[in-house]
Amino acid sequence: MLSHATTRDWLIPYADGMLAVDERRRIDGHIAGCATCAGELREVRELNLLLVTLPPAPPVAFAPFWLNLQAVLPQRRLLRMPGFGRYRRLGMAFAVAAIGVLAAGGTALAAPSALPDNPFYPVKQLEEGVRLALAPTNERLTIQLQLASERLREAQAMAANHKPLLAENSLRDFRVIVDDAAAALKNPADPKKAKEALHALHLKLDAVERENANRGDDDQDVKQLIAAANVELDRIEREDADAAPPVLVIGEQATPQPTPRPTPRPTPRPSDKDHRD
């Protein structure tokens, strides 16, 4: 039979259902013959009852909650500039002028090749944001791919310099750019070029991974972000391929499409689970 002291030590996990069957039986055996421990167990259960009966909140409307929260959220650099509506051009002109002033003020050091640990890196980011926002629609994808490639160059350099957090930031930015470009990549004007671009990004991700692994104590988060980015690129590639005209299969016999499809562009599949906003 268990001692009095041991039983008292185990009463709380016992009441929380955390003991194995054997251990529970031993406690049960002791409690059956010990009024003190039985009384203490009732107190423990009473406390548990108090703790679990703290009530949940009544329903709260989301919209006002979000509006109040949004009003006090700290502003953070935005990689993508949302549409400014009719003030977009004016805003862009102002941003360009601001960059000009910064450059004239001596920040020309903020070369396009500045890395995330360079103090002028934010200027580079601002320049990129303006460049992307001002880009005509038909050039947007090209610029996005350049920026995505640049993020991977940065991630590789940061991994090589033992700065995994900065490498992670660049990889996260990379994923945001790819996510933005996903729709255009799935339905590109030049499919061959898009495929080559995706392949090049895969190779660059491999280079970041190698650099990360070279450190000996490879950063797990960098590794995970690389894996997630590769999955994302694969998915874009796959969906692009899936969008090709299907081949009708009867049994093991594949029948080619007898006539060209009437629509030049693939229509979205109704079962597409990866529909994005």
């Binding site: 955390m18 709260v60 989301f62 949004q70 959220l73 999955v231």
Partner: protein
């Protein structure tokens, strides 16, 4: 000690990862979607800890502001929900500690009141819950953080271990210590009534 069933490794769904990455990069629309997913959870934790809806909403906002600021350093090796629970529990217990106790624990000597609509019962129950909250707030930090996840966040031992990144045995030992202290501090409040003695 009994072995808890190991939970499957949660890597978070791809959509949530995408929202987290985008929020970390400053996309407020993505963050809005994250808040939409979890605001109910955070408000519940805050309300259980504080007992006032307006205050719970304010503290929930503080939680999400902390989360927004810390997202660039969030690591995907831990489920976002557990990380959020930890931030929420820390924030609400800090808020609880800063508030002056309205009720003296010595003045309360009634046992647990069963749910009822009698105004006196309701008032007594509210006082009791308030006493429990302040007793939790008065615990040493390592006990407080652990029991807050159980009492306010309704997490299991396993989930607490994952949220705090500590072994299951440590969770057991901390909850053991926390509840012993709570029983001491709440005194007669946790003495079972005659009806419950038969349980």
């Amino acid at each position: 000690m009994g072995q808890q069933k190991e939970l499957p490794s949660t890597e978070g769904d791809a959509e949530e990862r995408r929202l987290i990455d985008r929020s970390a990069a400053g996309d407020q629309e993505a963050f809005r979607q994250l808040v939409l997913r979890y605001h109910r959870l955070v408000i519940n934790v805050a309300f259980r800890a504080l007992g006032e809806l307006a205050l719970a909403e304010d503290v929930a906002q503080d939680v999400f502001i902390k989360v927004y600021k810390a997202l660039p350093t969030y690591r995907h090796d831990k489920p976002f929900k557990h990380w959020l629970h930890r931030v929420a529990a820390n924030t609400v217990t800090d808020s609880l500690r800063r508030r002056r106790p309205v009720v003296s624990l010595d003045g309360l000597e009634q046992p647990v009141v069963s749910a009822g609509s009698d105004p006196q019962d309701v008032a007594a129950r509210h006082d009791l819950q308030r006493a429990v909250r302040h007793a939790i707030a008065s615990l040493p930090q390592h006990y407080r953080d652990t029991i807050a996840l159980q009492a306010f966040g309704e997490l299991s031992y396993d989930e607490i271990a994952r949220a705090l990144d500590i072994p299951l045995g440590t969770v057991m030992s901390r909850l053991n210590g926390a509840k012993r202290l709570l029983r001491e501090r709440l005194g007669d409040l946790v003495s079972p009534s005659e009806e419950t003695n038969t349980a």
